[in-house]
Symmetry: C2
Subunit: 311 residues, 2 copies
């Protein structure tokens, strides 16, 4: 039994590798802080990226959305003068419409996510961190922004001063999340953005306290390679928030919650400093450009966690 | 100034011909009794058919929806196990999503329809008969059915015993509808289904009374040719409701509201009986297979109305 924490693209890629090892014995607890309502539809970017990637249907070029997607809805919406800052593919839209319908009918996000994932052939459990709304908000010099406003509309092109996870203090982990954490033999922090993908999950007290108290091996895979993020604003955020852009910063951030770090061989020189924080270090190739890369990194990460063992 | 009453395909085709004559001086009062909510989206089949047809963007093969449409949303919805009995094209969906969003924001259906039509390049006024909900319900041996349940899901494959227009008694015509009726020099009943396209419009007292009191020429174009409907269940309904399937039945139905009937030359033998009802008759080719056909029939209908003149 493996439990993984994940946000979007990088996390989803490792999750795919983990699913190749664990199948239905993998539970992925996914960030829902990026979720938002657009056109009165509930959009859950990270849940969908993880689901699509586990289904082997993620768009390999864009890094989000579905493969072989078409954009006729968007083109028409633009022609009509509707909002077109957030791209919704024609196939992707079916998920948002169905999810919104089922949520309005009173189904939980957890059940709806399971229904969609099952239909797409996903064996692993894709678990929203909570069924309660948690919304990431970005503090900037020009005020507080909704996450997708910052991330998509403004393309992260404004310096941030902090982050807030509205609703996290009131949010409970779902029963399947609690169950996955309680039964896991290995916990893996995927290489997702620590600030906006993993932190919202950790902001839920019922998840944080369980991870902290766990006696199994907890391993994080760093999303930083050679001082850069593979994708997305992780490095930019790290710098703007006053941290060194480094896997060492990631290790410091997760201190007390993890027993080991997997870092890229480009960052081998950081191994000593990370070990000094009281955790084991595995150095390997962490860049995932193919499903084979994902499978290899997942296998190495799981082997590393087994080596560390429980406390 | 021309005012036309229309439902779906046949009405839209004549409206296109009328628009070629009158341009922005055409107002089309459109049936909204077919409107329904699906996936929490407001679908307005007749408004959209009229708008798409006037925009020259209607799908010529299907007779509904947009030309060059794609169906990837629907395919994915089906794959997800969602409802797939009502076909929504990818481009078409943008109209439903935008309309639903604007309606939820408090805009009236009239304003939203104008916004969409303007964006699609329509010069004529496409006017919902009312901003208040009117819902056509079909009485059958097996109970009362919502219109789209009957029309699309059951493909009209159940005999009807009657029709109801829920909400019509409480519905007022909109200000633009009243204005169009008051200013019109000619009123035309398009060749739409009398029972489910025109009757819901006439069920609104504020429209019925104005049409009845009008002193301008009011002309109906029969949707029946040689005892058959060109498209849709008009003939079937006529028979099931105990009427003769004939343009004479249409003339009898509209008696007191119209001054003249345009019928197909295939029905020339009915001219005497229709004249006996106290109305003028014009016999011509009424089948519209091309925009040129629509323009020709519209021109003949307008000329006929001018001939009749006001009372």
């Amino acid at each position: 039994m493996i439990v993984a924490l994940a946000g979007g693209v990088g996390g989803a890629k490792l999750a795919r590798g983990l699913a190749a090892i664990a199948g239905a014995d993998l539970s992925v607890i996914v960030n829902t802080g990026d979720d938002f309502d657009h056109f009165d539809l509930r959009i859950c970017p990270d849940l969908d990226t993880v689901t699509y990637t586990l289904a082997g249907k993620a768009n390999p070029v864009m890094g989000w959305g579905l493969e072989g997607e078409s954009w006729n809805f968007m083109a028409q919406m633009k022609a009509l003068g509707g909002e077109d800052w957030f791209q919704l593919g024609d196939r992707d839209l079916a998920i948002h419409v169905l999810r919104s319908q089922l949520l309005r009918q009173g189904e939980s996000l957890t059940r709806v996510t399971r229904k969609i994932a099952t239909r797409l052939g996903v064996k692993a459990a894709v678990l929203p961190m909570s069924d309660a709304p948690v919304r990431t908000r970005v503090q900037t010099a020009s005020g507080l922004l909704d996450f997708q406003d910052y991330f998509v509309r403004l393309k992260c092109d404004v310096p941030i001063t902090g982050l807030r996870f509205d609703g996290a203090a009131q949010a409970d982990p779902t029963q399947p999340v609690v169950h996955a954490l309680d039964k896991a033999q290995i916990a893996i922090f995927c290489p997702s953005n620590p600030f906006v993908s993993i932190d919202p999950i950790l902001a839920i007290a019922g998840i944080h306290s369980r991870l902290k108290a766990m006696r199994i091996a907890r391993v994080a895979v760093s999303p930083i390679i050679g001082g850069k993020a593979v994708k997305g604003p992780a490095a930019k955020m790290m710098a703007e928030l006053g941290y060194q852009v480094s896997s060492l910063t990631v290790a410091q951030k997760y201190r007390g919650l993890i027993d080991g770090m997997v870092i890229d061989m480009a960052d081998a020189d950081l191994a000593g400093d990370i070990r000094a924080l009281g955790m084991a270090v595995k150095t390997t190739r962490t860049l995932m450009l193919s499903p084979e890369d994902s499978a290899a990194l997942a296998a190495e990460t799981v082997a590393f966690a087994r080596e560390i063992g429980g406390r």
